[in-house]
């Protein structure tokens, strides 16, 4: 993304559809995602979280605003930087911490980690590491709903890197041909591991591809949670009306490395500074303070509570053992 030095940070564009209670709720989920992220980074440094720890800092508005726009029957196929969506869909901290730290009681029995789990009751189906793979799966999920006459919307995510996979193309084309109630959020966070957009694609916007599929496409500011919410709410409405899928490209920045081992030294300092000023939480916080929806005291109290809850979940999880070894030899097939 080309940076304009004089670029002013635009004010949050308020959605006409949101109540102040909903705004507070979204802000709380964004803060929760950020604090969860910071906690995972610390656990990684302490050697208590093993495997990849994939920061979602910078992604809170995209993740929370999109999931928040879905209804109570809709399903979410979150990706590795969508921890906010897990919270929006009602996932509790203990469940997440057990999954992330692979402790006994994890929904995945220790067979896999991070947000790769599925929780059918909460309508969350995690991704696999092969990005793009869940696009046709999420589309097929609502193909089934549609066949039964149910009005369910599915949403999944991809990045500026994963958008270059074959399954992205096959999945979006299939969803468009079948006019499925499906929303794909392309989180363009500027870097696919270390590769900038210029290495990944030549079109102006990734959402331009919608034209080729015959579905709706738009590119929006991915650091303004209300813009994200509005675009996704409209996409869900179109989906319910039978108008088919939407591609929504949310433009934001991955503020840390691909995973915690990566020092992201390939990102120019001025680029980080540019995006630092557009931090989705700072932007929304300023908006909520300006509109007197929350006071600084409210926010401090909210943050304190969230940190305490996360610490409690860590304390709960780290005390538990890893799953017994024999779990690894079970469950390759279901009965």
């Amino acid at each position: 993304m080309k940076l304009k030095k004089s670029d002013k940070i635009p004010p949050i564009k308020p959605s006409k559809r949101l109540t102040n209670d909903q705004r507070i709720s979204m802000f709380r989920f964004m803060l929760q995602a950020r604090e969860f992220d910071l906690a995972m980074q610390r656990l990684n440094r302490q050697g208590r979280a093993f495997g990849g720890v994939y920061s979602q800092t910078g992604n809170e508005a995209s993740s929370v605003g999109s999931a928040f726009a879905l209804g109570e029957k809709d399903v979410l196929f979150p990706m590795h930087r969508n921890i906010g969506g897990h919270f929006v869909f009602g996932q509790d901290l203990n469940t997440l911490m057990l999954a992330f730290l692979a402790r006994e009681g994890s929904l995945m029995r220790g067979t896999d980690g991070t947000g790769h789990y599925a929780d059918v009751n909460k309508r969350i189906y995690g991704n696999i590491s092969h990005l793009g793979a869940m696009i046709p799966v999420a589309a097929g999920f609502v193909l089934a709903s549609k066949m039964r006459g149910e009005n369910v919307v599915s949403m999944t995510y991809i990045g500026d890197g994963g958008s270059q996979t074959g399954e992205f193309h096959e999945g979006m084309n299939f969803a468009s041909v079948q006019k499925l109630p499906f929303i794909l959020i392309i989180e363009n966070n500027q870097y696919a591991y270390s590769s900038p957009n210029s290495v990944e694609f030549a079109c102006k916007h990734l959402s331009d591809r919608a034209l080729g599929y015959g579905c709706h496409g738009e590119t929006i500011d991915g650091t303004d949670v209300e813009i994200v919410y509005d675009a996704c709410w409209k996409a869900a409405e179109r989906a319910r009306r039978g108008e088919g899928p939407s591609i929504i490209e949310t433009v934001t920045m991955r503020m840390r490395g691909h995973a915690e081992h990566d020092d992201f030294s390939y990102v120019p300092r001025e680029e980080l500074e540019y995006w630092q000023k557009r931090d989705p939480i700072d932007r929304y916080q300023n908006f909520l303070l300006e509109k007197k929806i929350l006071t600084m005291d409210d926010i401090t109290a909210m943050r304190t509570t969230l940190i305490e809850e996360i610490r409690a979940a860590i304390d709960y999880a780290v005390e538990l053992p890893f799953p017994p070894a024999e779990e690894g030899l079970k469950g390759v097939f279901v009965d």
């Binding site: 092969h130 609502v142 193909l143 089934a144 709903s145 299939f174 469950g331 279901v334």
Partner: protein, 349 residues
């Protein structure tokens, strides 16, 4: 190497004596008709069953296996899809996670490579990671011998047997094809179902009407014998039966075991046969190296070594793509003659 000057043994004419007891009425069906019968039966019985694939509705499929299906079941349940195997398999997985029992057709099983990621990494890991079933069948025509080139002849079943989490079915007979298809559709796990295109219209037998289930993971001793065992599946079963018939004239009693499914593998029946006859020949059409025959041989060597009077031999495809010209194809693929030669060699040991 095998000598090709022997007269070709015809694959017709052997006595087919099924061990199965049929309690319903029978119809003479080809292998292709039996598969269509199974699909039709399940779609009538269970509205969760539906089909996805290329050219399957209006056109009735490249082999006309689903001819007129859309007229009975509608175009939603016989869903014509774009040429997108990853999307077909991926969407089938999504539908399976949401209460359906999809059957995804690969127009030729060669094209399953384009949906490989979905089968191996999504479907094959879902039970293990999520504890959720993916009741999906990926089916289609495989195999060579019909002059169809390297891209319409592949036998790729061993790839999926190696994947963990995917069941693999390779029927050799019409009745088995029907019974195994019904069992596959009702299974709560992903099943890759290999239909040998060379058998589609070549063989006909009595197939039970209505509900008929052959459980996955049960090998079938098609022909009992005492001097040697041929462990095989798919097209190679017919080579084995023809060779067995020829060998009986030479006073050699051959037992033919059709394993029918690679995953689950009926080790018990195979080991019992090896222990009984003390000589084992393994035959499959797929190429030799890292083929499923290697796995069968290893299991027998590990668990029945002290019963063997001779080394385990294998007859399999030559390690090459399946070529186009009939002369080349004949050189690369196994046939009854090659099985017969190997069997004689085994008896001479």
């Amino acid at each position: 190497m095998f000598c090709f000057s022997l007269p070709m043994i015809k694959i017709v004419g052997y006595v087919f004596d099924s061990q199965l007891s049929y309690n319903s009425t029978m119809a003479q069906l080809t292998y292709l008709e039996a598969i269509a019968d199974a699909l039709r039966f399940e779609m009538r019985r269970d509205e969760r069953v539906f089909m996805m694939g290329e050219d399957i509705a209006t056109y009735g499929g490249a082999f006309k296996l689903t001819k007129n299906f859309h007229e009975e079941f509608g175009r939603q349940r016989v869903l014509d899809c774009p040429i997108s195997e990853a999307a077909i398999v991926g969407a089938a997985i999504g539908a399976a996670l949401n209460g359906m029992r999809p059957v995804a057709e690969m127009q030729f099983m060669d094209f399953v490579t384009c949906g490989f990621n979905q089968i191996v990494n999504v479907a094959g890991t879902t039970a293990y990671r999520w504890g959720l079933g993916v009741p999906m069948v990926v089916r289609g025509p495989s195999g060579g011998g019909v002059g169809a080139n390297p891209f319409h002849s592949r036998n790729s079943e061993a790839w999926f047997a190696h994947a963990s989490g995917v069941k693999v079915v390779c029927p050799a007979f019409p009745a088995d094809a029907k019974g195994l298809m019904i069992a596959s559709i009702r299974d709560n796990n992903p099943v890759v179902f290999y239909e040998h295109k060379g058998l589609y219209r070549k063989i006909k037998e009595e197939v039970p009407e209505g509900e008929y289930i052959v459980p996955l993971g049960k090998a079938n001793v098609i022909r009992e014998g005492k001097d040697m065992s041929i462990i095989c599946y798919g097209s190679a079963v017919h080579f084995a039966l023809a060779a067995a018939e020829e060998l009986s004239k030479e006073g050699v009693s051959v037992e033919v075991v059709d394993i029918r499914t690679l995953v689950p593998f009926d080790e018990e029946t195979v080991l019992a046969s090896a222990r009984k006859t003390n000589r084992v020949l393994i035959a499959h059409e797929a190429s030799l190296t890292a083929g499923f025959g290697g796995e069968i041989a290893a299991r027998i060597a590990e668990k029945a070594f002290e019963y063997l009077d001779a080394p385990i031999l294998r007859v399999a495809g030559y390690d090459a793509p399946t070529p186009f010209a009939p002369t080349l194809e004949k050189a690369v693929l196994p046939n009854a003659e090659k099985v017969l030669m190997a069997a004689r060699k085994l008896m001479e040991y």
